[in-house]
């Protein structure tokens, strides 16, 4: 990952937080004073390097832990509502923002709501568990499934 790609990656993440949604190429380009084609080219390299995930049209799908699209994993943090890509990422949003958060997801078994308040990085309700189905070495084989 080149230094210039890291600059574009960091600006993309900053824009995601500022805007409360995934930025378009033009929004990152304006911040950095570069061409949109340069941003898209960097995003494609970052996608290949697993630093973010693009959809089939070249738009941001995941800037982990943030999801660009609605998912079953909703997080309230820093006065906003975010969507996470999975249960792990749901905890990651509070950690990345450095704030307390409320996680709202559903149990895949019974479809009941699971609401978890996180304070100082600790869940107040310790009864839920986390299941990882895919071995670590295969996480990026199909990141959308993982």
């Amino acid at each position: 990952m080149s230094p210039s790609d890291v600059v574009i990656r960091n600006a993309t993440y900053a824009a995601f937080v500022d805007l409360g949604r995934a930025p378009g190429t033009h929004e990152v380009a304006e911040r950095l004073g570069v061409a949109t084609t340069d941003v898209l080219a960097a995003w494609r390299r970052l996608h290949e390097g697993h630093a973010l995930v693009l959809d089939d049209n070249g738009a941001i799908l995941m800037a982990n832990p943030f999801s660009a699209i609605e998912t079953p994993h909703r997080v309230e943090a820093a006065g906003r509502t975010w969507f996470a890509n999975c249960g792990w990422d749901a905890f990651g949003i509070g950690a990345a923002l450095g704030v307390d958060c409320s996680i709202h997801t559903t149990c895949p078994d019974c479809s009941e709501r699971v609401d978890i308040e996180v304070r100082g990085g600790r869940p107040l309700d310790e009864s839920p568990v986390f299941h990882v189905l895919v071995p670590a070495r295969e996480w990026w084989t199909d990141i959308r499934f993982t």
């Binding site: 905890f91 950690a95 869940p123 299941h131 990882v132």
Partner: protein, 69 residues
């Protein structure tokens, strides 16, 4: 990577299929903090695989299932 109400719910959801690894939600919180807390740093640099593996190891997430490569 899913949150369940309890281990019993994981077992019922798997319905006899081979599962992966189940960890307490408190361990997940520790993992998320270690893995994601630098994600928005202005000077963020990519984690090397060895760094990420060290995070897993430090939290006791060891064994073949948790090997990144």
């Amino acid at each position: 990577m899913l949150v369940f109400r309890s281990e019993a719910h994981v077992k019922r959801w798997l319905a006899g299929r081979p599962g992966g690894a189940t960890i307490p939600i408190t361990k997940l919180a520790d993992l998320a903090t270690a893995w994601w807390s630098d994600r928005l740093d202005p000077d963020w640099q990519p984690h090397a695989r060895e760094q990420n593996q060290a995070i897993l190891d430090r939290l006791g997430l060891v064994g073949d299932f948790w090997r990144l490569g």
